[in-house]
Symmetry: C2
């Protein structure tokens, strides 16, 4: 008698993620999964990252959204190699869709792929897309208690980016408290405080990416490498 087996929902996703990881390893490409709330400033951060990072390595961006090509257009304007992944309502990027998008890139040339996930602090943290590291973006307008309320992504992150620091004088955000909460959940990930508006703090973030991409071997920086 045949026994039907129902695999867990994540099984299929994880298989596609593993396939992507094999493909990336073969081409020696690192992939970053950038996660944050809607409006955390992920695309603005990438806009400011593109020019400086492109001097140090060759990369592509995959833009995840429910709807619209707005974000891909913003980056394409900067001559960034970018594809748009539309989930059509889905709350996170799935590994299969990412795999097909990765396969279509000119992999021979690339050192790195940066994936901007759907704006959501919860679901994207749970779905492996074959990345080597996750980074989480949190803006100072969101409130300093967000790491406590959405702990999974802060625990999993290889780097934390606190965005919109230019707004600190105008919002009730206790930076020290927030840093403490992050440290408690994740003692090792570097935390970058940046403003895409005035450019403050972007250097450290871009260095971290460049190290992870393998272009600054060792790099002289005590940054947690991509796994």
């Amino acid at each position: 008698m045949k026994i039907k087996v129902y695999r867990d929902l994540m099984g299929d996703n994880d298989r596609w993620a593993a396939k992507t990881r094999v493909l990336l390893a073969k081409e020696n490409i690192k992939m970053l999964n950038l996660i944050g709330s809607p409006g955390a400033g992920k695309t603005a951060l990438l806009e400011k990252t593109v020019r400086k990072l492109s001097r140090r390595l060759d990369f592509a961006v995959l833009e995840g959204d429910l709807e619209t090509k707005n974000d891909a257009r913003r980056l394409a304007r900067l001559n960034c190699r970018v594809s748009q992944l539309l989930t059509g309502g889905g709350c996170h990027l799935e590994a299969k869709m990412v795999h097909y998008a990765v396969r279509d890139l000119p992999l021979r040339r690339l050192d790195m792929i940066i994936v901007e996930n759907v704006g959501n602090l919860v679901c994207p943290a749970e779905f492996d897309i074959g990345e080597h590291a996750k980074a989480v973006a949190i803006s100072v307008t969101e409130g300093d208690d967000k790491p406590l309320k959405y702990p999974l992504i802060f625990r999993e992150a290889g780097a934390v980016v606190i965005t919109k620091t230019d707004l600190l004088p105008h919002v009730p955000f206790r930076l020290k408290k927030c840093l403490g909460f992050i440290r408690k959940l994740n003692p090792r990930a570097p935390v970058f405080q940046v403003s895409a508006l005035n450019g403050n703090g972007l250097g450290g973030w871009i260095n971290w990416l460049a190290c992870a991409g393998g272009f600054v071997p060792g790099g002289g920086l005590a940054l947690k490498p991509f796994r």
Copy 2:
């Protein structure tokens, strides 16, 4: 021969939502489902709503979060009747959990229940919890294109609250553009522009709630009533 029937995943949720709606109808209570990104200012909005609204009707708040009782504590400090619903990682409130929390409230006394859903602009929009209306909160720091990128919740909302308007001078948010996007998706829902920090615009929002709660019959306001 017996035929096995597999119901859709949403079926069970919808049954619990329907049960809640029956219960609320019997007690003549209106329920609002407040949805927004992490850090959109939902709890701050409720903090400023509690005192003024409690002069006009008797209500309770259900606070949805993945982790921590922080938000319930913030409201309890204001003598608000509040329960905390913890999803333990879940990205939205499910109807069953809400039903049990509703059942435990002193329903005879209440005119209204306000549910603050988990901070997430995507998944909570898809799950009926037995509410009579949804309201969506979006902060000016999130960017004016968010209605286009997360259209479902803006289409479904009975009211839209644009929060943190005190920050308008400091952020690149094109208010007119945003209002246009909202109107295109949802021509009828009232749009309130509020600041929990300086109190601007809160009157209209609180009036809308009071109308919906049935305490200002007709109310003299051309606001879309709860369904």
